[in-house]
């Protein structure tokens, strides 16, 4: 459901209406206010970034979107409807896939199996049918395998398909995590610092993959970064957070010239 008109980006991509909307979200941990009355929207097909210094509350926001945290106040709207309180696995089944700031993979399982778990949101065959490797389960397994192989090819990790994830270097793990999220064919893909801890070359690869995903599949992406430089070229619109508050929201150019944002990043006391 679209309740707003879209817009056309500088590079000519058509962005759709609102897919997800955060309305006056506040999140408290005891006395700590991690998020304070923040509202913003994510539109269909866009790359939306949330940036801000460490501790600004970016990961908390992503956790609210993906259902890992329940906001103390405020509403989450998704596909035109207010979302009732939900467990993370239910949110995942609604087409919200994510990666984690500190990579969360199934270390004992192979790359292929890890990416296959991304298809769990599309599981329809019952347990009995799976246990007995019966009709529907088998068809589904084949279909899942096909889709997963396509994602694996797309992210250029064919050569490590059968490697246990625990043995992979950091940069590749990040890519496998992206593959697993992508395998879910999500309506919205949430990436928590996808480039953190990477070297320059790995960062370039990851940027390219993110843009390709958005281009090729039209996937809506919401990504978090603390490093301002990296995301400016990637994103269509940027939310800037600092100390749990929203201090800026707009195109990369608008945000770059916003005095509050400049102050926050230069560490001006406030």
């Amino acid at each position: 459901m679209k309740d707003t008109e879209g817009y056309v980006t500088a590079d000519g991509r058509q962005i759709g209406g609102t897919l997800m909307e955060m309305r006056n979200i506040t999140l408290r941990f005891g006395g700590v206010v991690a998020i304070q009355d923040i509202s913003f929207d994510i539109r269909e097909g866009e790359v939306r970034a949330i940036i801000g210094p460490n501790g600004a509350g970016k990961s908390s926001m992503l956790n609210v979107i993906s259902g890992f945290y329940t906001p103390s106040e405020g509403e989450v709207w998704y596909k035109g409807a207010k979302r009732p309180p939900m467990k993370p696995f239910e949110v995942a089944r609604q087409g919200v896939a994510r990666t984690f700031q500190n990579i969360a993979l199934f270390e004992g399982m192979t790359v292929l199996d890890n990416v296959m778990t991304g298809r769990l949101t599309h599981m329809n065959a019952g347990i009995a049918s799976q246990a007995l490797w019966w009709g529907k389960a088998r068809d589904e397994e084949m279909e899942n395998r096909e889709k997963v192989e396509r994602v694996i090819d797309f992210l250029e990790i064919q050569n490590i398909r059968k490697t246990p994830v625990g043995r992979l270097p950091y940069g590749l793990k990040k890519r496998v995590e992206l593959a697993r999220a992508l395998a879910a064919e999500p309506s919205i893909l949430l990436l928590d610092e996808p480039m953190a801890g990477m070297n320059v070359e790995e960062k370039e690869d990851m940027s390219r993959f993110i843009l390709d995903v958005n281009d090729e599949f039209g996937t809506t992406i919401c990504l978090i970064e603390h490093d301002m430089g990296v995301v400016m070229d990637l994103s269509d619109r940027v939310v800037v957070m600092d100390y749990g508050k929203k201090i800026g929201d707009g195109t990369p150019d608008e945000v770059r010239n916003n005095q509050d944002v400049i102050d926050a990043y230069l560490g001006v006391p406030h």
């Binding site: 995942a92 778990t117 769990l120 589904e140 397994e141």
Partner: protein
């Protein structure tokens, strides 16, 4: 003395290879059951960090239910099906009534809750089925009872048909479980949950579904081991001890390792039998099978604290 420990047993093995094969075979029969039970523990532990103290009583409960249903005049194989239904209902009930409300509590609380389940099942089982010993419905289930005599190396090897059936069925069940865990989406979900809770949630895995599933698998395992063990020893609350035989297997194989449970179970079944026959009986007056496995596990742990197949030595921080 040194001769008795280090030389004579091996001479015996060498000079009577048919008898050695007999011993190994009997070790294998026990071992595969230990492996199966240990697998039940591992699946539950991996997906919920719970050490399931109730596994033993589940064996008793499954066997009692089967025999009890049959005694009510229900045909044997239909009784098996109904017992499976009962074990499924039990799994759902445990998830709803015990696990779900206690989620997030310290592991030791959940462990104590499984002791509670054990006590409940003992009381409940006695009320419904009575406390007296019963006979497993071996023949009624069509399990063959005779034996086959082979003559390897010109000697004698007696294979009980019951044992052959147990080995075949248990092996199929273990292989089936492995295939389920490795090649189906539900199986991957079970393994995934064991590896990383957060990540599992993020790909849409429901803890509750998996918990019911692993407890139901433990119930299936309980029924199979209950039939196999009950066919030899009768059906009574003493059947519970089969589950304790899995403890040293877990010490050896690790609480989280599926391979460890299988290899560890087979190893302990075979080694304890070998030790009993070639060392225990001649040197220690026998009856070593009750404790040998624990001592073996302790010795191995001295040298390999992570167990034989420990997957994780480093504490996660």
């Amino acid at each position: 003395m040194l001769n008795d420990i280090f030389i004579a047993p091996f001479v015996d093995m060498f000079t009577a290879p048919d008898f050695l094969m007999q011993v190994l075979w009997e070790g294998l029969v026990s071992g595969i059951l230990y492996a199966l039970i240990a697998l039940g523990f591992v699946l539950i532990f991996r997906s919920s960090r719970i050490f399931n103290f109730a596994q033993g009583i589940m064996v008793v409960f499954a066997a009692l239910t089967l025999v009890g249903l049959f005694a009510m005049g229900i045909p044997a194989w239909i009784s098996v099906g109904l017992t499976l239904v009962v074990m499924f209902v039990l799994a759902v009930a445990i998830e709803r009534v015990v696990l779900r409300p206690l989620v997030g509590q310290p592991d030791i609380i959940l462990f104590m809750a499984t002791i509670g389940i054990t006590l409940f099942l003992i009381g409940f089982g006695e009320t419904i089925f009575g406390g007296e010993n019963k006979v497993m419905i071996t023949e009624e289930l069509g399990i063959p009872t005779g034996d086959t005599v082979l003559e390897p190396f010109g000697g004698l090897l007696i294979l009980q048909h019951l044992d052959i059936t147990v080995v075949v069925v248990a092996t199929l069940l273990v292989l089936g479980l492995l295939a389920f865990l490795n090649y189906t989406q539900m199986g991957r979900a079970i393994r995934a949950l064991g590896d990383d809770h957060q990540a599992a949630l993020s790909v849409g895995i429901s803890l509750q579904t998996i918990w019911v599933l692993v407890w139901f698998i433990a119930g299936i395992i309980a029924l199979v081991t209950g039939i196999a063990w009950g066919a030899r020893a009768g059906v009574s609350f003493a059947l519970e001890v089969i589950a304790y035989k899995a403890l040293p297997v877990l010490m050896l194989g690790g609480l989280e390792s599926i391979t460890g449970a299988i290899v560890g179970g087979l190893m302990i079944g075979i080694l304890e039998k070998l030790f009993e026959i070639y060392w225990g009986q001649p040197l220690l007056g026998g009856n070593t099978e009750t404790w040998f496995a624990f001592v073996l596990a302790l010795i191995v742990l001295l040298f390999r604290p992570q167990g034989l197949f420990g997957e994780r030595i480093i504490e996660r921080v």
